[in-house]
């Protein structure tokens, strides 16, 4: 004992207890994923790897691929739509414009997924806002199918992910050294060239982390594909819920939940190594 450490044990204990409870919950999922499913019973059988073998069927592969595809689309479109807003938010000259942009783009984050999903159901439904407006303007006669489509799910997911993407991009843009841009402009670069050759490359780490964070986040989306997909669009979360609560195959539901967790952790680990390399390269140039 080199030195007294006041409060060390007192403050460490609650954190350790919480960590143990959390770890226990995740270990329960792990434990169930290697158990045998007994049809018609909530009890599980002995240890088996059968659940992981079962994943290897085309119907499950399709759900995994669809999850991957929807997450990728969401991440890319979220980036394309968030960048201009983040740029405006950081570079706006007037204070009230900045405040307005922050409120409009960040507040949706706090209303919760059910409220936001419901809002999109009302917007995209057959009698919803978009269809009524289009009908009123006589652009269409029959409502367009937006609900229960992959398109509808992505439209909602992109909007959900934008506040987080905007925060990450705004942070990256605010760290760009304005002197670099001024130097380029003084040397004769047009504003467009300054943006494409200076600002955008300098915000690359932020872009990369934004895309991966949203990708990982969307892979675990549940309520949007559940309600807007309505069973027609299945992501891994919906399949896990279906297996757990309709089929009552808890072991397979656990396996799917575990795969989702590994996918989320994996993509974030990939990002960490990629941004590390990118930052090194930016530092050299």
């Amino acid at each position: 004992m080199t030195r007294r450490r006041p409060f060390f044990v007192t403050f460490l204990a609650p954190a350790v207890v919480t960590a143990v409870i959390l770890a226990a919950a995740i270990l329960e999922v792990l434990q169930y994923s290697v158990r045998e499913f007994i049809p018609g019973s909530l009890d599980v059988g002995g240890f088996t790897l059968e659940n992981f073998v079962r994943i290897n069927r085309p119907i499950y592969w399709l759900v995994l691929l669809d999850t991957f595809y929807i997450s990728l689309l969401t991440a890319v479109f979220s980036l394309l739509l968030s960048y201009p807003v983040a740029y405006a938010l950081v570079r706006a000259k007037r204070d009230w414009v900045r405040s307005l942009l922050i409120s409009l783009s960040i507040t949706p984050l706090f209303t919760g997924e059910i409220v936001r999903t419901l809002s999109w159901m009302l917007t995209l439904g057959a009698d919803g806002f978009v269809n009524s407006i289009l009908r009123k303007l006589s652009i269409i006669d029959m409502p367009i199918q937006l609900m229960y489509t992959r398109f509808g799910v992505v439209v909602a997911l992109v909007q959900f992910s934008m506040p987080v993407m905007i925060i990450l991009l705004a942070t990256a843009i605010s760290h760009v050294d304005r002197d670099c841009e001024k130097a380029a402009a003084n040397l004769g670069a047009s504003p467009t060239a300054v943006f494409w050759r200076i600002t955008l490359p300098l915000t690359m780490p932020g872009i990369l982390s934004g895309v991966v964070v949203i990708f990982a986040w969307t892979m675990s989306a549940f309520s949007t594909p559940q309600l807007i997909g309505g069973g027609k669009v299945l992501m891994i979360s919906n399949l896990a819920y279906l297996q757990g609560f309709s089929v009552l195959n808890m072991p397979f539901a656990a396996t799917l939940s575990l795969i989702a967790l590994v996918a989320a952790l994996g993509s974030l680990a990939l990002m960490k190594s990629a941004t590390g390399r990118l930052e090194k390269r930016l530092a050299i140039h």
Partner: protein
């Protein structure tokens, strides 16, 4: 011209971001079940139906109970942990930090499922204890971060000066450090409370019909009925969270807590 095009683009994107909120607000005051645009008048009947619907009343109070316990427990555990991380190096610190931050990455349905199974193992499934524990773990990273950011801004010389002048470690903690991080703690608690109150996915797994929280009750309602009662609840939630976040920003500098820097 380019500036005009840029701001038009930004405006269009913001319209896309806010359109669903506007639609839900409009629906909530619509006089009939079928939506009409432009609306054919204003009615508050759905609000009345929403606040008198027994399932929503129960779910609202469940949510208040769960949120109060979960955010307060998360505040206690999160602030003491942030203080510890700020002050001491110790073996296993990295592992402990990683575990306690992990709910930001773990899919909520995996976490909810884990707590459901854990509850089953202790015969506590669908009870308040498991719901509170799941929520507490989910919101803790936000509280910890808020307190950690405030602690990092506290001048360590103040604590050392007080200690040199004879204050006990307990006095330094309660008289010097606590008052300085109190705004961070309050801001963190508020964010935690809002996230807990509106959390859906994990709640769907860990709650039962007796313990369901408001978002779960709303989900069950949407699956059975198509009238704007849920829109009225949503509108109230949107207004309440917007107001809370506005107050939080004014009082505790929410932007600093969320670490959004603008110049």
């Amino acid at each position: 011209m380019r500036v005009f095009a840029f701001w038009s683009l930004v405006t269009a994107i913001l319209v896309y971001m806010t359109l669903p909120t506007i639609v839900v607000l409009m629906t909530s005051v619509n006089p009939t079940e079928i939506l009409a645009f432009p609306p054919e008048g204003i009615s508050f009947q759905w609000y009345q139906k929403a606040v008198t619907y027994p399932d929503f009343q129960t779910a609202f109070w469940n949510g208040i109970v769960v949120t109060s316990f979960a955010s307060t427990l998360a505040l206690i555990v999160g602030s003491t942990f942030a203080w510890l991380v700020n002050r001491y190096e110790f073996a296993g610190r990295g592992v402990l930090e990683a575990v306690l931050w992990s709910p930001l990455i773990i899919p909520h349905f995996t976490l909810g499922f884990g707590f459901l199974l854990l509850g089953g193992a202790f015969r506590l499934q669908q009870g308040y204890v498991m719901v509170v524990l799941a929520h507490m773990v989910l919101v803790m990273p936000f509280v910890t971060r808020a307190v950690y950011v405030s602690l990092a801004n506290v001048d360590g010389d103040l604590s050392r000066a007080a200690a040199n002048l004879g204050a006990s470690p307990f006095h330094v903690l309660t008289r010097i450090e606590l008052p300085l991080v109190l705004p961070g703690m309050a801001g963190g608690w508020l964010i935690a409370a809002v996230i807990s109150f509106t959390e859906f996915t994990a709640s769907l797994y860990v709650t039962g019909s007796r313990t369901q929280t408001l978002p779960v009750a709303m989900y069950n309602y949407i699956r059975e009925y198509a009238d704007p009662t849920v829109s009225a609840i949503s509108a109230m939630l949107i207004i309440a969270t917007t107001l809370l976040m506005f107050i939080a920003d004014r009082a505790f500098g929410l932007r600093r807590v969320l670490a959004i820097d603008t110049h």
